[in-house]
Symmetry: C2
Subunit: 360 residues, 2 copies
């Protein structure tokens, strides 16, 4: 079983770990993750935005540039979508050696109901011109990374930007976006890793060249080293997570429960296609048993699974893994890469069944 | 300047750091911290509570035991209080050697508007009997710590429990408590460190002996070793925190800004008495200049401060410290103790002023 490196965490990593946060895995019990439990990764700082003076500029290679207020955007057609979103760096801390960034273990995920307006009609209104290749999204969050000052920026191809489920969201779980989730407006691209979903939008720009900014061409890639162009990240690879059963040991976070029947539950998702099945193993992946799947919470959201287990006295290691309809499945060991992204290795939970344990 | 140990973080600490979270310090800009930015420390697990079947038991050494539903509690007199709450472990990661628990740096704080009903009239209705010494609060969160299974429990003396500002809160910032902040009901004891404010209340019990449970007599104490009975924690020691100015460097979280005038701002609080003054130093505490103080957000909440600074080109280390009317002030170096609590050493922020930097 892979264990994270524990002998050289840096101040820089700790500074990120105390600002950012995962979803405590007991949060897997909720179809829609309560605000504040949803994972949060702020790349630079949370900007302080006055929504009255804030404007979204839609421009670049368009015939009809737009400058829109929040009221303008709220007056447009409205959709609400439950979307499971995961940080591309989820699982980073299990890699060895550990790439230096936010040291996530397993919990950088959440499912929110995002309310907003579809992007495609807005691009149509702006009249994106022939010759445009991509749409560039610029956030109000600014910082310096890899020796360059930058706004946080990501692009989508025109084809991806025109997908009907791509929205500009101004509400999360029925309330205005919290500041830390992109107030007043963010991009939501269902199925893609979190870095795509640019927060605090200031500009949407049709561009005639493929965007080569840091967050697109350097950081969020599966690459072996700096010379490897690697693979650009897009959709989330399948993952299953288990609500750790029983009660925790404070020091280790290992689990305690009384011997006997217990219902295990978790959630599984993939950005590539629907989840086909979830399996559970109690012998480190030597053998697997199928879990029962509930319907997904939405086309772009996780599905709940359950597995009826009888714990006999002793120590157990529970592993679950998801497989999607495209045939992608989770590995048991991490696949190392230089940026520490897309590590969807199966989660393991250590459980001790002891007579007399009282559950919470 | 004290630096945290960075060479031996454990998996246990990292597991806590990715579940729990501080308030990103740009959140100091808000009088009331938005939900999800407020610091969060879950001692064991977040319980999954059905509020319809949930009941609060008020019992023990009382003549009139009560069993109350959430509706019963909401029908009682209602108060709303802005309260600054800080984790007793804030600052732990600056200690050397570092006690093993949640490795906070500086940001385990937040200010919420808590709505609930005062505790004292409820105790009066239950008719606490002569001979009762303390009131014990039991949460629904359960786990094993230091070789003992336990519900999370803390007590208050009768005198403290009868303070008029001590409330049972069912709403945070105007909405029902989020699960992670104690849904459906939590204790709020303004001025005291976070561990006092028991979440997910299941029972309030008048007891005739001083409570000697783990979370009271062992963990939350300022002690030099296991043999030292030490000092029981209660009120928050004064602290000032600064909104890190300028824009961040991703790797180091150090700050960049252009030379010139800039308004520094922060917040200061103390659980012992009102804040008397906040000072700022640019030479590591050799000399200090007074900041301007706004009125406090509430009797039990932080006050904003400002300081007009002109940054000259080069590197600066900004330190701020608060002093309360009781004469407590912040040290420049940490005061080590075995549990890593109550380290209110002054925060330092590294800032580089460089021509051409564009602020976000």
């Amino acid at each position: 079983m892979a264990r994270p490196i524990t002998d050289d965490i840096t101040l820089q990593e700790l500074q990120k770990a105390t600002r950012n946060h995962g979803m405590p895995l007991e949060g897997l019990r909720y179809d829609i993750t309560p605000v504040g439990m949803h994972y949060l990764l702020t790349h630079f700082d949370v900007p302080f935005v006055n929504a009255d003076s804030w404007r979204l500029e839609v421009g670049g290679h368009v015939a009809n540039p737009l400058v829109l207020s929040l009221d303008d955007i709220r007056a447009r057609p409205q959709v609400t979508l439950p979307v499971t979103m995961e940080c591309a760096g989820n699982g980073r801390a299990w890699l060895n050696p550990r790439p230096r960034s936010q040291p996530w273990l397993n919990e950088a995920v959440g499912t929110a109901e995002w309310t907003g307006t579809p992007l495609a009609p807005l691009l149509e209104e702006a009249q994106v011109q022939s010759g445009a290749l991509e749409v560039l999204f610029t956030g109000l969050d600014r910082g310096r990374q890899a020796d360059a000052e930058q706004w946080y920026q990501r692009s989508l191809s025109l084809e991806q930007a025109d997908r009907p489920e791509v929205i500009l969201a101004y509400a999360m779980n029925g309330l205005p976006l919290p500041p830390q989730h992109g107030y007043p407006l963010r991009l939501v691209v269902p199925g893609w890793y979190g870095m795509t979903n640019v927060k605090w939008l200031k500009a949407i720009t049709a561009v005639t060249e493929v965007f080569s900014g840091f967050q697109q061409k350097v950081f969020y890639r599966i690459a072996q080293d700096d010379d490897d162009p690697g693979i650009q990240l897009s959709r989330m690879f399948p993952r299953s997570l288990l609500v750790p059963p029983g009660i925790p040991e404070f020091e280790t976070r290992d689990r305690l429960l009384p011997p006997g029947p217990i219902s295990l539950e978790g959630r599984a998702w993939s950005g590539w296609s629907p989840i086909a099945h979830v399996e559970v193993s109690f012998d480190g992946g030597g053998s697997w048993a199928a879990a029962t799947l509930d319907p997904p919470v939405g086309i772009h959201a996780w599905r709940r699974w359950q597995f009826e287990w009888t714990a006999v006295e002793g120590e157990h290691v529970i592993t679950s893994r998801a497989t999607d309809e495209a045939g992608n499945t989770q590995p048991l060991e991490p696949r190392w890469n230089a940026k520490g992204v897309a590590n969807n290795m199966a989660q393991t939970v250590v459980v001790r069944a002891r007579p007399g344990v009282i559950l919470g």
